[in-house]
């Protein structure tokens, strides 16, 4: 039964992504409008994660471990880019999809089997992942993308990127912790550019330039070939300076200082 539903979800998916491609960004006069225009990017990223999960499921059916691993890695890109949104707006689904450390479900549970144990017996977990991602995708049409909460999400993720990855990070079995960081940084850059950059530029060009430069530094800091090549001290400083700047910038555009945990004030 579940498998039939997942098949249906997956078969609808290509059409959805094609439809998204023709949606263009409207000129954003206010933060609320700008946040609205971010919705399409968010839907695109979660759809990409969902497509990856569907591809993963096909490879499981074929007992194709190598293909399944590649599909898992591909599915992570859109997911990690959306973390500016998921962690704060949909924590329950975030736990279902990206629990850590939890070997029983979600991306990391599947990772443990595909990359750690080296087998493809994760059909049930993958079906659940597809169902949760599809649930999330459906919610994205209506969810209120409040600018304050988006700024909180950006600041929270900017802080998280600066954390110590000396132990190999979260996606250590697949060796993709660095990819996670890069997608996180890209997700921050995307959400900031689409939602806040123009309004900030109009309000305070000096601080706008500083935030933009800090985001670029963060993206540059994670563009290394290997997790071990990260300059952890530099990355932490870049991460914290970006958060500090966002905290200074928020009042300039009529927002509160972003919290570093959703729901904490």
């Amino acid at each position: 039964m579940i498998r039939a539903v997942e098949s249906w979800i997956c078969s609808l998916l290509l059409g959805t992504i094609a439809a998204l491609a023709i949606v263009s960004q409207a000129g954003a006069a206010t933060l609320k409008d700008a946040a609205e225009s971010y919705r399409h990017y968010l839907i695109d990223d979660i759809s990409q994660a969902l497509a990856g999960a569907c591809a993963l499921r096909e490879h499981l059916i074929d007992h194709d471990l190598d293909g399944a691993r590649k599909a898992w890695i591909a599915a992570r890109v859109g997911w990690e880019r959306s973390e500016v949104f998921t962690s704060g707006f949909v924590p329950e689904l975030d736990q279902q999809i990206d629990a850590w450390p939890d070997a029983s479900h979600g991306f990391h549970g599947i990772e443990a089997m595909l990359f750690g144990a080296g087998h493809t017996h994760v059909a049930a977990e993958t079906d659940a992942l597809i169902a949760h991602l599809a649930d999330l995708r459906a919610q994205l049409d209506h969810v209120d993308l409040a600018p304050q909460r988006m700024l909180n999400g950006i600041a929270r993720l900017a802080f998280e990127i600066g954390g110590n990855k000396a132990d190999g990070g979260e996606s250590r079995l697949s060796g993709t912790a660095l990819n996670d960081l890069q997608s996180n940084a890209d997700g921050i850059a995307l959400a900031y550019r689409v939602i806040f950059a123009d309004v900030m530029e109009a309000s305070d060009p000096r601080i706008a330039a500083a935030v933009r430069a800090a985001i670029e530094r963060l993206q540059a800091a994670v563009k290394v070939p290997d997790l071990r090549k990260l300059d952890a001290d530099r990355l932490r400083a870049d991460s914290e300076e970006l958060v500090a700047l966002l905290q200074m910038a928020a009042p300039k555009i009529g927002l509160n200082k972003p919290t570093l945990e959703e729901g904490a004030r």
Binding site: D102, N164, A166, D167, G168, R172, L173, R228, L260, E261
Partner: protein, 468 residues
């Protein structure tokens, strides 16, 4: 004891406290089974264990505390540097390793194990290739990690006593063994000053001149007599000859006791907590140490003699309050000392100390935030709102420290002083109560820590299965 602490002790951790008390009475240090570092891209080899998740950490007493004083600026700076990875070289820094990683609270780290550098937990090859290829002597020759308690009484330094000067020894550890940048003379002085402040823990069984007092048992007294008795085949020798009780049980000399070469006499004070024993950590108990001397020096000890000697060693090696529970209170002891130092460093415009304090405190608060799991951790379900508030508050402290650093790098020390006031307020008025309030649902709670580690264990050690 605060109301909070009473409630804490009486409810949540009662069973743990009892277990710990029993273990300590038995003279066995009790640690949680913490989880090793792993992963192909980890800085340290897979299977490395730094024991950073230990539930109990060695208690530390500085000489100034006996005087009822705060540590001086220089000692606090040394303490800070001792616990800062940034004074060491790249590999240690990336792995978050500082002097304090091996010498926790100035003592040792009996569980530290790095594959390729350790033969057994609590040993480490300081001349291996990982931390400084230039220091590699191409021998796998780990030595036990010594406690630094009472170091000022324990010259010469190094397990073989090769260095008379503690300062030279410390410099060699930083620059030679861990490839750190050359420390400034002032910083090196500070680290040495701190190490010289680390005291032995008080031992209620010892009186003047290292003699047992009247609380000692019969067996311990018989052991004390045997300890001073000349060896049967060489009346010039006795245990106490090399371990004179009146001078911290050391003679400051090197001896060959049949363990392979000359090694300096180790102190026996607080030694119950310094296992494993001998320079290479080959023995994990006093029984085996006594066996060794009995065999090598043909002492002809009877069963009773052996147990009496072991009882004596346990009495001499004891300490009141050897461990603290790791938790918010213990963490804030260090945070308070380093915060005071930061305020003083800003006032006297000591930029090196400001940078070190900001970096180390910030790293500490980041790590503290991670002790409070967020919604993604299924090992803990209660008090999510409280955990988030605690995490957010600790993270806000990190950012306030960064703002101090930004002010200093913009050459605006007045702004840095103002930011310090914000930092102080956020730390002690906001974060501390929130962290304390959420502590029962944090990884400082051994039950939650165990559930969390079990999940990690299952995740990272997923068993291979045959294809269905």
């Amino acid at each position: 004891m605060t109301q909070y602490a009473k409630r804490w002790a009486n409810t949540l951790w009662r069973s743990v406290a009892v277990t710990a008390a029993v273990a300590l009475l038995l003279g066995l240090p009790q640690y949680a089974t913490s989880f090793p570092i792993d992963g192909d891209q980890a800085v340290l080899p897979a299977g490395s264990e730094l024991n950073e998740d230990a539930v109990y950490v060695p208690h530390e007493i500085l000489r100034s505390e006996y005087r009822g004083d705060r540590a001086s600026y220089v000692v606090a700076l040394g303490d800070l540097a001792f616990n800062s990875p940034s004074i060491l070289g790249g590999v240690a820094r990336r792995a978050g390793i500082s002097c304090g990683t091996c010498h926790v609270g100035g003592a040792n780290n009996a569980k530290l194990f790095i594959p390729g550098l350790s033969t057994r937990p609590g040993t480490f090859d300081t001349t291996g290739a990982l931390f400084n290829p230039k220091a590699n002597n191409h021998l796998f020759d780990p030595v036990r990690i010594p406690s630094l308690r009472g170091a000022r009484y324990l010259a010469p330094y190094g397990h073989d006593g090769r260095m008379a000067s503690l300062r030279d020894f410390v410099r060699n550890v930083i620059v030679g063994e861990f490839a750190g940048p050359e420390p400034s003379p002032a910083l090196l002085d500070a680290i040495v000053a701190y190490i010289q402040e680390i005291d032995f823990l008080p031992n209620l069984k010892l009186g003047a001149r290292g003699r047992l007092n009247d609380t000692a048992s019969e067996a311990e007294r018989r052991g004390e007599v045997l300890f001073a008795k000349p060896f049967p085949h060489d009346p010039n020798l006795s245990c106490a000859g090399c371990h004179p009780p009146a001078s911290a049980f050391v003679d400051h000399l090197q001896h060959d006791v049949g363990s392979g070469g000359l090694h300096k006499t180790p102190t026996l004070l607080n030694a119950n907590f310094n296992a494993p024993y001998f320079h290479d950590g080959r023995y994990d108990s006093f029984d085996r140490v006594v066996d060794h001397f009995d065999r090598v020096y043909e002492l002809g000890l009877l069963t009773q003699d052996r147990s009496d000697l072991v009882a004596y060693l346990r009495a001499v090696g004891d300490a009141r309050h050897p461990f603290d529970s790791d938790g918010v209170t213990t963490r804030f002891k260090g945070i308070s000392a380093f915060s005071l130092l930061l305020a003083q460093a800003i006032a006297v415009r000591d930029r090196g100390a400001i940078d070190l304090a900001v970096d180390t405190l910030g790293g500490g608060f980041r790590e503290l935030a991670e002790q409070f799991p967020d919604h993604r951790d299924t090992a803990v379900t209660g008090a999510l709102a409280e955990r988030r508030m605690a995490r957010a508050a600790a993270k806000d402290v990190v950012i306030s420290l960064r703002r101090i650093a930004m002010a200093v790098s913009a050459d605006d020390l007045d702004a840095a002083a103002a930011e310090y006031n914000t930092y102080y307020e956020l730390t002690f008025s906001k974060a501390m109560p929130l962290l304390r309030g959420a502590e029962p649902w944090s990884l400082f709670n051994p039950a939650i820590r165990a559930a969390h580690d079990a999940e990690r264990q299952r995740l990272l050690r997923a068993p291979a299965q045959t294809q269905r």
